[in-house]
């Protein structure tokens, strides 16, 4: 089974977001592979290991720095990586991104596509599902458990919803977006890290994919960011110290009479 994994590079979750002139200041950010995409990579590797055959290809769209995210996936055991250059693409718009990813998927070929349920930067939670629509494939999003029947070309997934899991049956090929809990991602091995050095990562432009720049550029974007701001600071609160029973009693009084929330 040929599994395609789309990986986004995002600021590490430890990042303290700073705003400069209404835009997020990314100058001193540590870039990592999107945490939800790590579950997608891990699942792809497990599928290949379980079947004892197939290939895992990792694709990332963006500037040159995204090669680090591809190399990270290769060090975990992905077979091949492709860098799709983001020049001219409205990268903040999930719809334009999905169009480019769909073209890359068609060029590479696949039986299954995996990606994270959302990027932890802009939190759109859209590109994976939009990719399925662009490719006219079924999708299951926010998946915490995945079973595939490669021979029958079917699958069964559990997706997390309010108050439980939905069990979804689907046909392959399909797009699956990964939620935390799907698996426990592995760490890179020394052998894996060494192997990366021998691999070349092809760079594809929009022209290589046969995508017209105007169809995925700023003019084609469905949404665009105007301005970023920090959330309003919270007012300093009351801190109680002393005997546990006394502080508990005082807290209940405050919640009831001052905050009026119970």
């Amino acid at each position: 089974m040929n599994v395609l994994v789309f990986v986004k590079q995002v600021p590490d979750t430890e990042t303290r977001i700073q705003i400069k002139d209404g835009q997020v200041d990314l100058s001193s950010v540590k870039w990592v592979a999107n945490p939800y995409d790590e579950f997608a990579i891990e699942e792809a590797l497990r599928i290949k290991e379980r079947l004892g055959a197939g290939k895992v290809t990792v694709v990332s769209l963006g500037p040159d720095r995204v090669k680090d995210a591809i190399k990270y996936a290769l060090s975990l055991g992905a077979d091949e990586g492709v860098h799709v250059k983001g020049d001219g693409v409205a990268l903040d718009d999930p719809s334009c991104v999905a169009t480019v990813l769909a073209a890359a998927a068609r060029k590479i070929g696949f039986d299954l596509i995996l990606t994270g349920k959302q990027g932890v930067d802009h939190d759109w939670s859209q590109a994976g599902v939009m990719l399925a629509e662009r490719l006219d494939l079924p999708h299951v999003s926010v998946v915490v458990s995945l079973e595939l029947d490669a021979a029958a070309k079917t699958g069964r997934a559990k997706r997390e919803v309010e108050g439980g899991d939905e069990v979804v049956e689907f046909s392959l090929p399909a797009v699956i977006t990964a939620q935390k809990g799907l698996n426990e991602p592995r760490y890179a091995s020394l052998k894996g890290i060494m192997a990366v050095k021998k691999k070349t990562i092809p760079e594809w432009t929009l022209a290589d994919l046969g995508v017209e720049a105007a169809s995925v550029g700023p003019e084609a974007a469905g949404v665009r960011f105007l301005e970023f701001s920090l959330p309003p600071a919270r007012a300093a609160g009351k801190v109680l110290e002393g005997d546990p029973a006394d502080t508990a009693r005082e807290l209940v009084r405050l919640l009831r009479q001052e905050a009026k929330v119970i």
């Binding site: 979804v168 949404v223 970023f228 807290l251």
Partner: protein, 328 residues
């Protein structure tokens, strides 16, 4: 077919319209009042006989009713076809979803099909030069962004649950109901079963009160203390990433940047130091209570009320006091 300015895709659970849909209707009603134009609601799939009326009483002028065998269970492709059909009937300029698990799944599918832009998980809207501007959290709430739409219509947005208050139902309000045909559709992914998680009062994303435990819980057994407190408060149990990654509690309880972003009325952070990923996910809660033995813990910077003390003494005392107070 009646044209509408704004169309809200209603979500049902066991045939009843969900509260998050009524919240979206309330905000849509406000926006439609400012701009002029009618407000529509798309009622898709199985629904009780009074539900169209309920949508009307909560603000809808027109209800587009889409039914059919492929809609018996949620299936994204079939529901996207139903949304597309309703959009064809109502030709709205704005299309709203509730940003529930289903809405977050359906909205991007429908948006891609309609070739229109989608702003997800929004918490505020305004009109600007005839177009919609949405406000939404990014980086799990570490920052907020305003978003504008491209030329394509409708302008699509999903609305974070618990953000807006539903309107009080007005029994005098009525809506015209238009039946919209669903074309041929054979969904290739469909929900076949639902497995409920045990004993939860409300989902974290919808909860009014949340009690979360962190690293200082020390192990899975001590979460029993928090479950008792949850029971007294009717609260939903949450956890920090540290507690989840330690394997003490299932990931579905995680609050923060790689978990749920929550906005309850009352949030208890117990034995949680307040790592930036956690603060991102809960700092929009109305009232925050922190219980921690380290008075320098970052969680106290966002807490409305804090108790510096040993959680193993404070939590049982608090549970007892709350039990007493809530009985009165």
């Amino acid at each position: 077919m009646a044209a509408v300015k704004i169309l809200v895709v209603a979500e049902t659970k066991n045939g009843a319209v969900r509260k998050s849909t009524l919240e979206a209707l309330a905000e849509a009603r406000r926006l439609a009042a400012e701009s002029g134009g009618a407000l529509g609601a798309a009622l898709i799939g199985p629904a009780g006989s009074g539900e169209a009326e309920r949508l009307a009483q909560h603000g809808a002028d027109v209800v587009f009713r889409v039914e059919g065998a492929p809609l018996e269970q949620y299936a994204p492709e079939a529901y996207a076809a139903a949304v597309t059909a309703a959009v064809g009937a109502g030709t709205p300029e704005v299309l709203f979803f509730a940003a529930t698990a289903q809405g977050r799944d359906l909205a991007p599918r429908a948006a891609a099909r309609l070739h229109a832009g989608l702003a997800s998980d929004c918490v505020g809207f305004s009109w600007s030069g005839g177009g919609l501007v949405a406000r939404r959290p990014v980086f799990a709430g570490k920052a907020f962004a305003t978003v504008a739409f491209g030329k394509a219509r409708p302008q699509i947005a999903s609305i974070r649950p618990n953000t807006f208050m539903p309107l009080a139902p007005d029994p005098a309000r009525a809506a015209s109901v238009e039946t919209v045909a669903l074309g041929d559709v054979t969904p290739r992914a469909r929900v076949v079963a639902f497995e409920a998680s045990e004993g939860e009062v409300a989902d974290l994303t919808e909860a009014n009160v949340i009690v979360s435990g962190g690293r200082a819980m020390g192990g899975p057994d001590n979460f029993e203390l928090l479950r008792k407190l949850c029971k007294v408060l009717g609260a939903t149990l949450g956890a920090s990433r540290a507690a989840v990654d330690a394997g003490w509690i299932d990931h579905s309880h995680q609050v923060g940047q790689t978990g749920k972003v929550v906005n309850p009325t009352l949030y208890f952070a117990i034995g949680i130091s307040g790592a930036i990923q956690h603060l991102a996910g809960m700092s929009s809660s109305r009232t925050i209570v922190a219980i921690n033995k380290d008075k320098d813990a970052p969680i106290f910077k966002v807490a409305s009320y804090g108790i510096v003390g040993d959680l193993y003494q404070v939590v049982p005392a608090l549970t007892m006091e709350l039990e007493k107070a809530l009985k009165e």
